[in-house]
Every structure is written in C-alpha cells, then in structure tokens.
C-alpha cells in the first residue's frame, strides 16, 4: 500500500485535532512527580548529563536509517 500526500495531510489534520482536544492540568499529582524528579540526586547542579545528548543522537541515527517495508 502506497502512502499518498493526502494520507500525510490527513494524518497532520488528525494530529492537530487531537492536540486541540487535549487538556492537561498541572494538578497535585503532576506537580508532585515534577518535584520528585527535580529532587533526584542526578538532577542537582553539577550532574553529568552527557548521556542525554548521546541517547537522543543515537535515536536520531537509528530513525534516519529506518525504511518503510510495507
């Protein structure tokens, strides 16, 4: 099955509609999770974050090599 331009445009329209329908509140639960993450030892000033870029670079290289097989 070939993917047409119209398929792509339809997917974009659907994504935009989905985004507009989403309502995320900064409720107590979300704020508590953020506080937990901020309090982690690995998230204090001076922590080494070299892995973040390396991981995302590796992910992008992987995606760049991906080909559609069906």
């Amino acid at each position: 099955m070939s993917v047409t331009l119209e398929d792509g445009l339809r997917a974009l329209r659907e994504s935009a509609e989905l985004a507009r329908s989403i309502r995320i509140e900064l409720d107590d639960e979300y704020l508590r999770r953020i506080a937990e993450v901020e309090a982690m030892p690995a998230n204090q000033s001076g922590s080494d974050k070299t892995w973040v870029r390396e991981l995302i670079d590796a992910s992008e290289r992987h995606l760049a090599r991906a080909v559609q097989v069906r």
Binding site: L18, R23, I24, L31, D48, V52, I56, S59
Partner: protein, 170 residues
C-alpha cells in the same frame, strides 16, 4: 562534533546570561531515556539586556551560526543599537548552522521573568561544558501557560512518562 555544546561553550566564554528552556531543557531532567523527547530546535531564554544579546550574537557567529529574525537575516551591524530594537520588540532571533541545528534565542518565557528562572536554574555538565538549565517546574508551567498545540502534546506525553517511570521505581 556537538554543535550545541560548542555554542553553549562560546556563550559561556562571552559571559552571556541564558538558560536552556523548552523540550530540550526538560530532557536534561529525564530519569531515563524513556522520558526524553525529540525536538527540532533548542530554546535559550535570555534577559532583556541589549549588551548581553550582542555578546550572544557574537558567540553564535563565532561558532558558525547564521542569525535570522522573522525569517530574514538579522540586520547588520549587529550592535547595541540593533539589540535595543530587538529587546524593545521582544523579538526572537533564530541561530541556524549548516548542519541544520536551530537554536532560538528568546527574550520571552510564558509566565516568567528572566531573573526568577535564572535564580533557580540548575547547571548540568555535558562533558566539560556547564549548561544552565531552567527548573523543570518552570519549563512545564511555562508550556502550560503558553498552551499551544505542541505544548499540550508535550505535557500529555511528559506527564504520562513521569508517572510510568516513577511508578516502576517505587
């Protein structure tokens, strides 16, 4: 070569005050790779200080980035006079290099003034470079305030990713 790291290093050498915000800023706090997000650009929040802005532009140019505003090349000379106008308009300037890395220099972060974000920043290390990053709480709150489609999509995914990861750790 990590072009973003080189830019951050140059900004530091020029004593530019800035913090990383946006999705890339949130990525630094990810408890694991499952909570990182791909993004097309990086956002740097700068104070409305013309001299600081001129130094930031110099750092961008020194590391091979072209500067644009409103999709047009940023005017020259890139001096204090121009920086005054940019600050006055709170205009965003985009730095782009030949490898396609886009870095937005913004003077606006929805819901926050620069000094608040600066005073509570974290400074992380990427190899030998110190990277000032806004608090995760500030990044998420700002995205909630901005409320654009892409912000809502990010918040939905981010909230779920944090919940899943932290539940696993408990």
């Amino acid at each position: 070569m990590d072009h973003f790291k080189a830019l951050v290093q140059a900004l530091g050498s020029q004593q530019v005050r800035f913090v990383v915000i946006g999705v890339w800023g949130a990525n630094y706090y990810a408890p694991s790779g499952a909570a990182t997000f791909r993004t097309e650009d990086r956002d740097l929040f700068l104070p409305p200080d013309p001299d600081n802005l001129v130094r930031a532009w110099r750092a961008c140019e020194a590391t091979g980035f072209d500067l644009r505003s409103d999709a047009e090349p940023l005017d020259v000379p890139r001096d204090r006079f121009l920086a005054d106008r940019v600050v006055e308009r709170r205009a965003a300037v985009r730095a782009t290099n030949r490898q396609g890395l886009d870095v937005d220099l913004t003077l606006v972060m929805a819901g926050f003034d620069f000094e608040t974000v600066w005073n509570e920043r974290r400074t992380f290390q990427v190899e030998d470079v110190a990277v000032p990053v806004a608090r995760l709480l500030h990044i998420v709150t700002s995205k909630h305030t901005a409320g654009r489609d892409k912000d809502r999509l990010f918040l939905a995914t981010h909230k779920q990713a944090l919940e899943d990861l932290l539940k696993k750790q408990q």
